[in-house]
């Protein structure tokens, strides 16, 4: 048995899956004031009556860290930032105290100017005086040489915890994002660890010994231990849960558009040959652009409960939801009302739905039915326009080689997979607008929880080999290793796969389920004077998101 739980803003879904079949589901409202309580009561209800010793794993998608950030309920953080020459640095001041220290590391990882330990001592005094416990330490190009961050942590560790070091969160180059991601990691650390301690205690009390995994925004999981260390990785996993749910119910290996149409919003995802598209650098939360790896998802304010107005003779749907649909006692006409009028939905007060369409129809001289049809058609248009725009942007993402520019992969969707309340109603409309087949599952109600339940462990590494300096580095694994100056691209590939696998296992993956792959690689001849001084090899490798196993039975259409 696998347990999956997805905590959303308004409610929590949970499922038990056994042999690829959903055997129990629970849905409960989210109590925003006590997220742990909400999760625990849902879990208790879900597993009561089942043999708890048969639970193989529990996968949780939680909003614990997300909520803390969005609602500003985070710990104060003292930031030490070595920004060196370059952009002005004021905008990086995201902590409660921000100390910009001297010293600089360059793009090859050479320490150009040492840090001044007196500045660190002063920072320590200041943070203590301000009663700050959580810290983050970030230097420009720390992925190339983490010495500065390590030295500073060493000086601080007896007085502070946690201390997040920038280079441990991602090997990608982007100093501002590294600063913000490190800040967030320290800021949500206590909140997440309180939550995780509560869960562990409660599980023990209930004699549940299954390993616990947390869903990440990239559609994969990590074990609780890893999440406790890098809680920032747990943010914004909601869209990833629904994405994985969509994939579990409607599997494809083609280029595809994936839609989750809910009450308030429509989430849009894309697949390239069945593999999810990722955010190029990381996800944005609040005002922070981060290095947290995430599935590319775009949310638009359009759903079954979006409020409808007529403006300048045109139908305007969303982006706001102002309550229930009119037929359910809400204040405004909505697409749901249009569906009730057309007999596409059985629930709700049909009289009221008709009334709402009549009010709108009068303004446009349309019959009640035609008004309702126009509304659904407009919904289709909004989705089509947005997706066309996104595809254009995606297909013009910057490339850096002649080969990619001339022959690079372009996403050309062959089908659309939809889940959500209005999926069956919108499918025929979108089918016409896109001229693509649309698929939707019969039962979508717990798709998110199913997605969470079936998500495998994922990870990504960034490797740089500089044979002139004889260094191999994988910052996110804290690997900085001396290598031979004849080190080859081939050895680097092998090493990357080996490290990737090791990392996946430490995050809780089972060896036989790991599908590791190299996503980018390049090797440059470094020439100084007229001679080759070495090779500069760069490799990006990942364990991509995937399903623990396929979903069977009547969930599939």
């Amino acid at each position: 048995m696998i347990v999956g739980l997805d905590m959303g803003g308004t409610h929590i879904d949970a499922v038990i899956i056994e042999d690829g079949k959903v055997i129990n589901t629970v849905k409960k409202p989210t109590n925003r004031d006590n997220l742990f309580e909400s999760i625990w009561t849902t879990l208790e209800e879900l597993v009561s009556g089942y043999d708890k010793s048969k639970i193989k794993r529990i996968n949780l998608s939680t909003t614990v860290s997300t909520n803390a950030i969005v609602e500003g309920k985070t710990s104060p953080v003292g930031m030490i930032i070595q920004s060196g020459p370059g952009l002005p640095h004021d905008f990086l001041a995201c902590g409660d105290e921000n100390i910009f220290i001297s010293g600089y590391v360059d793009h090859r990882g050479r320490v150009v100017k040492d840090l001044d330990t007196n500045e660190i001592k002063e920072s320590i005094d200041l943070f203590r005086e301000k009663n700050i416990k959580s810290c983050a330490v970030i230097s420009k190009f720390s992925t190339r040489n983490p010495t500065t961050e390590l030295t500073i942590k060493e000086l601080m560790k007896k007085d502070f915890s946690p201390i997040t070091m920038g280079h441990t969160l991602s090997g990608k180059l982007n100093f501002p994002r590294r600063v913000f991601t490190s800040y967030l990691n320290s800021a949500v650390y206590d909140t997440f660890n309180d939550f995780s301690n509560n869960i562990k205690k409660s599980m023990e009390k209930e004699s549940i010994y299954a390993p616990l995994y947390i869903l990440k925004a990239d559609g994969g999981t990590m074990n609780l231990l890893a999440a406790e260390e890098k809680p920032v990785e747990t943010i914004l996993s909601g869209p990833a849960a629904s994405f994985m749910g969509l994939n579990a119910m409607l599997n494809t290996d083609k280029d595809a558009i994936l839609l989750d149409i809910g009450g308030t919003t429509t989430d849009i995802f894309f697949l390239a040959d069945g593999v999810p598209l990722f955010e190029p650098l990381g996800i944005k939360i609040d005002n922070y652009k981060t290095l947290v790896r995430a599935i590319y998802s775009v949310s638009i304010g359009l759903g079954g409960d979006s409020s409808i107005d007529i403006k300048d003779g045109k139908i305007k749907i969303g982006p706001k939801r102002e309550g229930y649909p009119y037929a359910f006692g809400g204040p405004k006409p909505t697409p749901t009302d249009a569906m009730i009028v057309l007999g596409l939905m059985k629930d709700g007060n049909k009289e009221k739905a008709l009334q709402s369409m009549e009010t709108l129809g009068n303004q446009l001289n349309l019959s009640v039915e035609n008004m309702a049809r126009e509304i659904l058609d407009t919904m289709g248009n909004i989705i089509k326009e947005k997706i066309d725009k996104l595809l254009y942007e995606i297909n013009s993402h910057p490339v850096y080689t002649v080969k990619e520019l001339l022959h690079g992969k372009k996403i050309d969707p062959k089908l659309i997979n939809i889940i959500g309340g209005p999926a069956n109603v919108l499918a025929p409309i979108l089918e016409k607008k896109f001229n693509l087949p649309c698929y939707y599952p019969k039962n979508y109600h717990v798709a998110n929880a199913i997605g969470a339940a079936l998500a495998k462990t994922t990870t990504e590494i960034t490797m740089l080999v500089d044979t002139a300096q004889r260094i191999l580095s994988v910052p996110e694994l804290e690997v900085y290793k001396k290598i031979d100056k004849n080190y080859t691209l081939n050895s680097a590939r092998k090493k990357a796969m080996e490290l990737l696998e090791k990392s996946a296992i430490s995050l809780g993956a089972k060896k036989d389920e790991i599908e590791a792959e190299i996503t980018e690689e390049s090797s440059f001849n470094m020439v100084r004077g007229f001679y080759t001084s070495g090779k500069n090899i760069r490799i990006q490798a990942q364990v991509k998101p995937g399903l623990i196993h396929e979903l069977r039975g009547d969930e599939n259409d």
Binding site: L87, P88, V112, K140, K172, N174, V402, T532
Partner: protein, 436 residues
């Protein structure tokens, strides 16, 4: 987050899979560390900076500017079509008002490519800025343009292309041709009969630093631009004036380049040379990006920057003052100089030898500029290369009068093709290219 004051388009195309040869300065690695710096600084996340991919330029674009011998396809690689396409994209994004300014970080460079192209010289085969500009003029109509070449080498190719074009002011400042490739770019190279005074060279002594470059900018370039009133300013942005550049002898800095771009305020910048790939390019490119975007660049400098060490000598300062005065006075006096030097001539002939250093080809050519009082006049090139080609090329300029259009076509028709290996006609009025 940081917001750009000027919306800036960036075409960053490092062509990581293309090199002239594996140890050549123009190799895959050239923009690797620039990319690292741009990525690490988070330039992608700055509001108002937009990244574009190059489009791919067409054969026709090359033929508006060049006579590729024997033809375009046998002289160019994909990387040239893309480098030029990157510059075109940058220009389009400005003209289409998607951005206020743009910077094409593309390679290979182009400013040593002349009108006739037998091969590669100074790492250039096609003149990126010129092909870009002529495509834009073709698409968007006439415009008055100033090209400021800030590469350390004389932009001899761009000079050749716009030699007789008054609507394209060319100003190049560079290390004195007596001390550096390509050995041209002297004050008296002043333009053809229809554009006398619109080709301005500012040769500078080795060792020129921030002070000298900015002096020339403030006292020659900016006043001339003020009088010329161009619609568009293009910076032909070479970066080899840097104090760490391995093939030149100047003392310019990243901060200086940023300041220069701030004061020059170009609409478009296109990368040219610059081969200090670790010590200079990452910082200069960052400086130019920030300056063009209107973002504070005061904190941009090289890790080993030392202002005092890079200070130019008093003699250099004095020398530059004198040169600047002479050049500016010549600009002011260009009408008189034209009357004095060119009065009464029906045509102007110019013969020279051109050496293709990268490919080791020697060319002898004679250019003939017909003087017409209604237009810039038909001009022709007779050229012979030691590779066995012997060509005749005719250009009908953009502003040609009907007589000159006829004259150009007659010349082409009446030139027996057995006298030459190749005969070409570039009819810019009708945007047609013929060859036989």
């Amino acid at each position: 987050m940081i917001k750009a004051k000027n919306k800036l388009g960036l075409v960053f195309f490092p062509a990581f899979d293309w090199a002239i040869s594996s140890t050549h300065p123009e190799r895959e690695e050239r923009l690797l560390y620039t990319q690292d710096q741009i990525f690490e600084e988070g330039i992608q996340d700055i509001e108002g900076i937009k990244f574009y991919n190059p489009i791919i330029a067409e054969e026709k674009d090359m033929q508006r500017v060049h006579f590729c011998v024997p033809d375009v396809k046998s002289r160019l690689t994909n990387s040239h079509f893309i480098s030029v396409g990157g510059a075109i994209k940058a220009f389009q994004s400005v003209i289409d008002k998607e951005v206020d300014k743009s910077f094409a970080l593309v390679r290979p460079p182009g400013h040593h490519a002349h009108r006739v192209v037998y091969g590669d010289r100074g790492f250039c085969i096609v003149n990126v800025e010129a092909v870009m500009l002529e495509r834009i003029r073709q698409e968007y109509g006439p415009m008055r343009v100033a090209i400021i070449d800030t590469d350390c080498h004389h932009g001899d190719g761009t000079q050749d292309i716009y030699w007789n074009d008054k609507d394209t002011l060319f100003i190049s400042f560079h290390q004195d041709g007596r001390t550096l490739y390509p050995g041209t770019g002297f004050i008296d190279e002043f333009g053809g009969p229809s554009a006398y005074g619109y080709n301005i060279n500012i040769p500078l002594p080795p060792g020129t630093g921030e002070e000298g470059f900015l002096y020339v900018l403030d006292n020659v370039v900016l006043p001339i631009l003020d009088e010329y009133q161009p619609d568009i300013i293009i910076n032909s942005a070479g970066q080899d004036n840097h104090y760490t550049d391995p093939i030149t002898n100047m003392n310019f800095t990243a901060q200086g380049y940023a300041e220069l771009n701030h004061r020059l305020n170009p609409d478009i910048a296109v990368l040219e040379g610059g081969y200090s790939i670790e010590g200079a390019l990452p910082y200069i490119n960052l400086g130019i990006i920030l300056a063009m975007a209107g973002i504070d660049y005061s904190n941009v400098h090289e890790p080993d920057y030392n202002k005092d060490k890079l200070k130019q000598s008093r003699e250099i300062t004095e020398y530059i003052k004198q040169v600047s005065e002479i050049i500016y006075n010549r600009w002011k006096d260009k009408e008189n100089l034209r009357l004095k030097d060119l009065k009464g001539l029906d045509y102007v002939e110019k013969s020279r030898q051109i050496y293709y250093d990268t490919d080791g080809i020697l060319e002898n050519q004679v250019q003939n500029f017909k003087v017409c009082n209604k237009c810039s006049g038909v001009n022709t090139i007779k050229s012979r290369s030691d590779g066995g080609y012997n060509i005749y090329a005719i250009t009908i300029p953009r502003d040609a009068c009907s007589n000159c259009i006829d004259r150009g076509h007659k010349l082409y028709k009446n030139t027996p093709s057995d006298n030459y290996t190749n005969v070409y006609l570039q009819d810019r009025v009708n945007d047609i290219y013929y060859s036989k």
